[in-house]
């Protein structure tokens, strides 16, 4: 018996059709040498300090230029581990499917999960599938939990940040959020916009090797770099930041599209960009390491840590004015990741 063209409620019933979906579609795609059988749980071993993180993906549309919910689900969670100084090792994959979701689309998402996991050198070792009635879900929702192995003893934290530290960005900002918005709103200018969805672990590993000079890293997803910078100074409390608007790498298409839509690229979600704070003496070396990777080739310094305005991010604008760069407010875009 072959799997029906569309997902039905019975595929989540726990009965024969559930079994068929898991055994004939999901497991054959996701299985690997660490996920050898369909048991209730899988065992694994990680030496030393271990990191865990979880994230749920609800992006709309499921497929977008530069990726899909599968690539996002793998890279997003792996990036959360990587920026904490952990090597991503294992992932679980939870699927919530809406009745009527095309089975071919599910296959495409699963193939993406597999390919992305291979690229990020992480293994899927457990999974779950539920089905919700038509109209009660968004086609497909995906949860991944990631487990990672500490790269070393140095703990990265906003509390490491000191006056004079350099604030770096790893690449051009704003493309993921705009790519999603463009496809959703049918904007012509969006035809050349691509999500930046990419694994950050190689960049993080290269920076981690700088030792204590690396203070803190965070990937700039929802709320963009504006949110990350504000979170960092809000959590640190003692420091603020002085940031230069014109220092951020921004592609011509992103600049034009955000102009048109009245959006600030600094507030738009990314899926392959991080902020790193490093000691000033290590800034040049950090940038050269970042730039040795394709994803980091446009990395640059965007500002410095200062104690003049603790808890505040001050932006020097293009025209040379100064103002607060606040946390993005209001719902810029629902279901961005």
């Amino acid at each position: 018996m072959s799997i029906s063209e569309r997902i039905t409620l019975e595929h989540g019933s726990g009965g024969a059709l559930s079994r068929q979906l898991t055994e004939q579609l999901i497991y054959p795609i996701l299985s690997n040498d660490a996920y050898r059988e369909l048991a209730d749980a899988t065992d694994f071993e990680i030496p030393g300090r271990t990191f865990i993180t979880t994230d749920t993906y609800v992006v709309d549309p499921v497929f977008f230029p530069g990726g899909d919910i599968g690539t996002l689900g793998v890279f997003g969670t792996c990036n959360d581990l990587a920026v904490c100084g952990a090597r991503p090792r294992y992932l679980t994959v939870g699927l919530v499917l809406e009745e009527g979701f095309p089975t071919a689309d599910l296959r495409r998402v699963l193939e993406s999960v597999r390919a992305s996991a291979e690229q990020a050198e992480v293994r899927v070792i457990s999974g779950d599938t539920k089905v919700v009635p038509s109209g009660k879900g968004g086609g497909i929702f995906l949860n991944t939990t990631g487990v990672g192995e500490a790269l070393g003893d140095h703990l990265l934290s906003v509390n490491n940040i000191k006056e004079g530290d350099s604030v770096l960005v790893s690449g051009p900002v704003g493309s993921h959020g705009l790519a999603i918005l463009a496809i959703r709103e049918g904007l012509k200018i969006g035809a050349t916009l691509q999500s930046d969805c990419a694994p950050l672990f190689p960049l993080c590993e290269a920076l981690y090797a700088l030792g204590g000079s690396l203070r803190f890293m965070r990937d700039a997803t929802r709320g963009g770099v504006a949110a990350v910078l504000n979170e960092a100074v809000a959590e640190n409390r003692k420091c603020g930041m002085e940031i230069q608007e014109t220092a951020f790498p921004i592609s011509g298409t992103v600049a034009a599209a955000s102009d048109l839509l009245g959006l600030n690229p600094l507030e738009i979600a990314n899926e392959g960009v991080m902020i790193a704070v490093v000691a000033p003496k290590a800034a040049a070396e950090a940038l050269s390491r970042l730039r040795s990777f394709q994803t980091g080739r446009e990395a640059c310094q965007v500002g410095v840590v200062s104690v003049r305005h603790p808890g505040r991010v001050i932006l020097e604008t293009a025209v040379g004015g100064r103002r607060i760069l606040d946390l993005p407010r209001g719902l810029l875009l629902p279901r961005i990741c």
Partner: protein, 367 residues
């Protein structure tokens, strides 16, 4: 506008000579100069670009009554809520309006998701909503000369399409009468106006000419990019320094001296002037627009017997004074404490173009 033009309009090398000019002029002005940016879009553009932080200390920019949501009386929200509760009508509105608290603290956003309140981005969207609805559809018609022609055009189009269940609840306002009220105020503290660029695209220069009369102040039609703003500020300061009071247009790439007659014609087809109540100001003669005799059957206030508007301010809220440029947002005891963009008390914190929201987001003086 091309991205390249936009970039050059925020180029600090091009800004430098303008700033130098502003510094020199400011030095010639004895004491402080208070310049009001009338338009909410200016307020946001000035704060977002940090232009206010570049000005000499004796030049103060104060925000005016140019945010349509902010100058709409609280009782307008009360009446809209009353309409929802006592009729089957659907309310159609721009998003900002829905978050403004009525006099009892409730807002229209509470009705979102129940199909009774619909957010639109363009007035043209009211047509299909009315067509699909079996009940009355009421558009919350607020705005200045910038918005009014598009609402009028959409409404007239709906009428031509034979749609009879579409009503306008008008609280339209026009800018020049408010400027006159500010000018005539006995304790006025203003030395000049940055006149609104978008409004001027429609009305041109003529309606501002009363500023040139005895007791007037300089008024400069100004654009919205950082260099536009600096150019407008420089022009108004030069006039202040020389004791002039002329209406000047520095936004010539968008504003023609005669404005846009076609847009005004559409407004005139549908609307006629009326005395209007402004939040913060009270009643200003001939400062509002309502549906004229031919379209009275679509006037929501008349057809649903909504009570006349009155001004009731939430306790402690200083929006009224903020709108007249008398009080800075940070001088209100609620600002940033009980009143934030997430929990707004007054309209100036609700609207994205509100003075308090802009101050909260971008900071006031040089940070």
């Amino acid at each position: 506008m091309s991205s390249l033009l936009r970039q050059s309009l925020q180029d600090r090398r091009l800004a430098a000579p303008l700033l130098e000019e502003i510094r020199k002029t400011a030095a010639d002005i004895p004491g402080n100069a208070r310049v009001m940016e009338v338009c909410g879009t200016h307020t946001v553009a000035i704060r977002r670009s940090g232009v206010h932080s570049l000005l000499p200390d004796n030049i103060l920019l104060v925000s005016g009554p140019g945010c349509p949501v902010c100058v709409t009386p609280t009782s307008y929200i009360d009446n809209a809520l009353h309409l929802l509760e006592t009729t089957k009508a659907t309310i159609v509105s721009f998003g900002d309006m829905l978050k403004v608290p009525g006099s009892d603290g409730r807002n229209l956003a509470g009705y979102l998701g129940r199909g009774r309140v619909r957010i639109v981005y363009s007035p043209a969207e009211m047509l299909p909503i009315a067509r699909e609805s079996a009940e009355a559809v009421v558009f919350l018609a607020i705005g200045f000369e910038t918005t009014i022609p598009t609402v009028a055009a959409a409404f007239l189009q709906a009428r031509r399409a034979g749609i009879e269940n579409l009503f306008l609840y008008t609280a339209f306002k026009t800018v020049p009468p408010a400027l006159r009220a500010l000018l005539d105020s006995p304790d006025r503290n203003l030395d000049g106006f940055l006149l609104p660029g978008h409004v001027s695209v429609i009305i041109g220069e003529q309606p501002y000419l009363f500023l040139e009369k005895r007791g007037g102040v300089p008024g400069v039609i100004t654009g919205f990019e950082p260099l536009d703003l600096l150019q407008g500020i420089s022009a108004v300061l030069k006039q202040i320094a020389r004791g002039q009071q002329r209406v000047e247009n520095t936004y010539t790439r968008a504003v023609r001296s005669g404005g846009n007659p076609k847009a005004r014609e559409i407004m005139e087809q549908l609307l006629e002037p009326v005395d209007a109540l402004w939040r913060g100001f009270g009643r200003i003669p001939a400062s509002g627009l309502v549906l004229n005799q031919a379209f009275r059957d679509a006037d929501a206030q008349l057809q649903f017997s909504l009570p006349p508007l009155r001004n009731v301010e939430p306790p402690g809220c200083l929006c009224a004074q903020v709108l007249q440029g008398r009080v800075l947002p940070a001088e209100c005891s609620l600002f940033g404490k009980r009143c934030t963009p997430e929990t707004p008390v007054g309209p100036c914190m609700v609207s994205s173009e509100g003075t308090c929201a802009a101050s909260f987001r971008y900071g006031d003086a040089e940070p």
